[in-house]
Amino acid sequence: MADPTCESTGVVSTHKDRSIAWTVTIAFGVVILIPCLMGFIVKFGELVALTKDPADGGFAITPVINYLLASAGFFFLLLWAALNGMFRDLERPKYLMLENERELDAHG
């Protein structure tokens, strides 16, 4: 084999491997989530305070409602698609694509 590094034969996932993976994932998540949550809570507090203002309250809440509606529409579309079985066999193209590559290189 010319180049062992390129020929990955799949990972032998040991218990140790998995625990490292979890540690990294959790650490990563915490690093992202803590500042995000802090920012969100502060901003959400500001928004709640602003909505109580009789003059600017409606102005502040309108875009939020718009965004929630748009996101909800998207979410239901996704749900509908999933219930209609559009996501069966979702992983097949990624194997086909590699197979094609191998064939093309073998013939070429």
Binding site: N66, A70, L78, A81, M86, F87, L90
Partner: protein, 231 residues
């Protein structure tokens, strides 16, 4: 649908793009549609006329070579000056865009970071509804100062020397020199030089606080009777 060609083409490709265009571009467009867009001729005001005529006084040879001489007769003259001034504004704007001035000088004052103190009154929508803001020159970077309140702060002489060789007036300035706005020396601006100076002096000339000076304090000169009282 989410993996199909038509789904991607119509929902993602066209649908989401249109949604963004409507919400991010069409909405402000409709909100400001009632502010009329001014033409260049409508932008000329006494402050600007003063600066433009000042250019004619300071650089008569350059000025006459570029714009000719007023035909005479007061009413006619007024129209003539306005027309030439509009020409200068248009050319000046083209140079300002073509030389990329707007990549280093912004044209808007934000309501934060003490910008009101430094540059002058916060920018309003109505200031931008004119032909010379196509496309709008908000700018994204300030290597040099903001310019939307620059008009009238400095004399035409200052600008001429500064355009010719910025370092001679602001020592550490990274601004490039523009000798092609002149015929060899700063006292001989050519058509381009006159136009760009007119454009710069126009910026902010519609404001009540024209010229706007940072932390301006009225001159401490006292009236004669006050002097006598204290002495």
């Amino acid at each position: 649908m989410f993996e199909s060609k038509s789904g991607i083409l119509y929902i993602a490709g066209i649908g989401f793009f249109a949604l963004a265009f409507v919400s991010n571009a069409l909405v402000p467009w409709l909100m400001y549609r009632d502010i009329p867009e001014k033409t260049v001729a409508e932008l000329i005001n006494p402050n600007l006329r003063y600066q433009f005529e000042d250019l004619a006084r300071r650089y008569p040879d350059s000025f006459n070579a570029t714009y000719g001489t007023p035909p005479g007769g007061d009413a006619k003259d007024d129209a003539w000056w306005n027309e030439k001034c509009a020409d200068a504004l248009r050319t000046g704007h083209k140079l300002y865009v073509g030389e990329g001035c707007w990549h280093c000088h912004s044209q808007f004052v934000r309501p934060v970071s003490n910008e009101e103190e430094r540059w002058g009154p916060v920018s309003r929508s109505v200031e931008y509804q004119n032909e010379l803001q196509r496309p709008v020159l908000f700018g994204t970077r300030r290597v040099g100062p903001d310019l939307c309140r620059e008009g009238g702060r400095r004399s035409n002489d200052w600008h001429a020397v500064h355009f010719f060789k910025p370092e001679s007036l602001s020592q550490a300035s990274p601004m490039p020199e523009y000798p092609w706005f002149f015929d060899g020396s700063p006292d001989k601006p050519n058509a381009k030089g006159l136009a760009i100076m007119t454009y710069i002096q126009w910026l902010g000339s519609w404001q009540e606080s024209y010229p706007y000076y940072e932390a301006y304090v009225p001159s401490p000169v006292r009236k004669p009777e006050e002097i006598q009282e204290t002495e």
